[in-house]
Symmetry: C2
Subunit: 145 residues, 2 copies
Amino acid sequence: MQDQLKLDNFICFAVYTASHALNRVYKPLLDTLGLTYPQYLAMVSLWEQDGQTVGGLGEKLFLESSTLTPLLKRLETAGYVRRERSREDERVVVIRLSEEGIRLKEKAIGIPGCIAAASGRDAVDLTRLQAEIVALREALNKSVA
Amino acid sequence: MQDQLKLDNFICFAVYTASHALNRVYKPLLDTLGLTYPQYLAMVSLWEQDGQTVGGLGEKLFLESSTLTPLLKRLETAGYVRRERSREDERVVVIRLSEEGIRLKEKAIGIPGCIAAASGRDAVDLTRLQAEIVALREALNKSVA
DNA sequence: TACGATTATTTATTGCACGATATAAATTCC
DNA sequence: GGAATTTATATCGTGCAATAAATAATCGTA
């Protein structure tokens, strides 16, 4: 049989299942923060840079605003962010961390270490692999655009 | 600032966004087959080996039966598979490809090539990266178990 | 001022993923 | 042989992601 259509040879299957595996490691950690995985990513991005617009966040997270809007509303309901329409340009909504959202960072600071530990690799190796996967992503994104 | 909590250094973010990027490349291809991405993976597994049980499929795809059952029902509604209770062990449900499901393979045979092309890497490099990501998955899965 | 472009929201749909629970057969133990 | 245990699957309910399409508001510009 040609191994053309064999699951174990699919890069996509590897990425897909790795993503699930990561999610399973994250789940219990994020549960303690009351965040889902994409919500966590949004928070990380806001901890990096507060006051981003919905569109700006979407660009960083590779998500459409129609995906982000309900997600951000949940974060607002949870009390982690505020959504404020910009004064300068009233089309734009700016997302700002609340006090509680800022505090949450302290509880999240240990998570990357847990993941790294679970991956069973040292930091250097992990960084290299991470860069490779990013390169794959960029190539794929370029092919679609 | 410590780059501890920096999105661009997260292996998880790389995998997550790469998974999305793959999905975007797949989407138009799979639309012509009338399949979603996880449905496609299930079909690939069945093309490899017809007549698998729900549990067996779940083990290969790393999915719970509670996730697979509705997915397989949709494939059944689409006319690609039949779900038959096993004679020997009536707890077990066996999934069998329909004629149409078997024929679908011909239309799918070209997809992996498209993905490989979109990734912008040669086969050897892709295989190497694939193996690395699988290794990451295995390490993560082991850490949860 | 009118028009096109930008930005976000709303609405609706589809499907994934999982936990909890129920069920049912097979196996094992007494 | 019958009861308890194990194993496998299905069902139900919840939550959320992701997208498409339509709408609305605003901005910049011709």
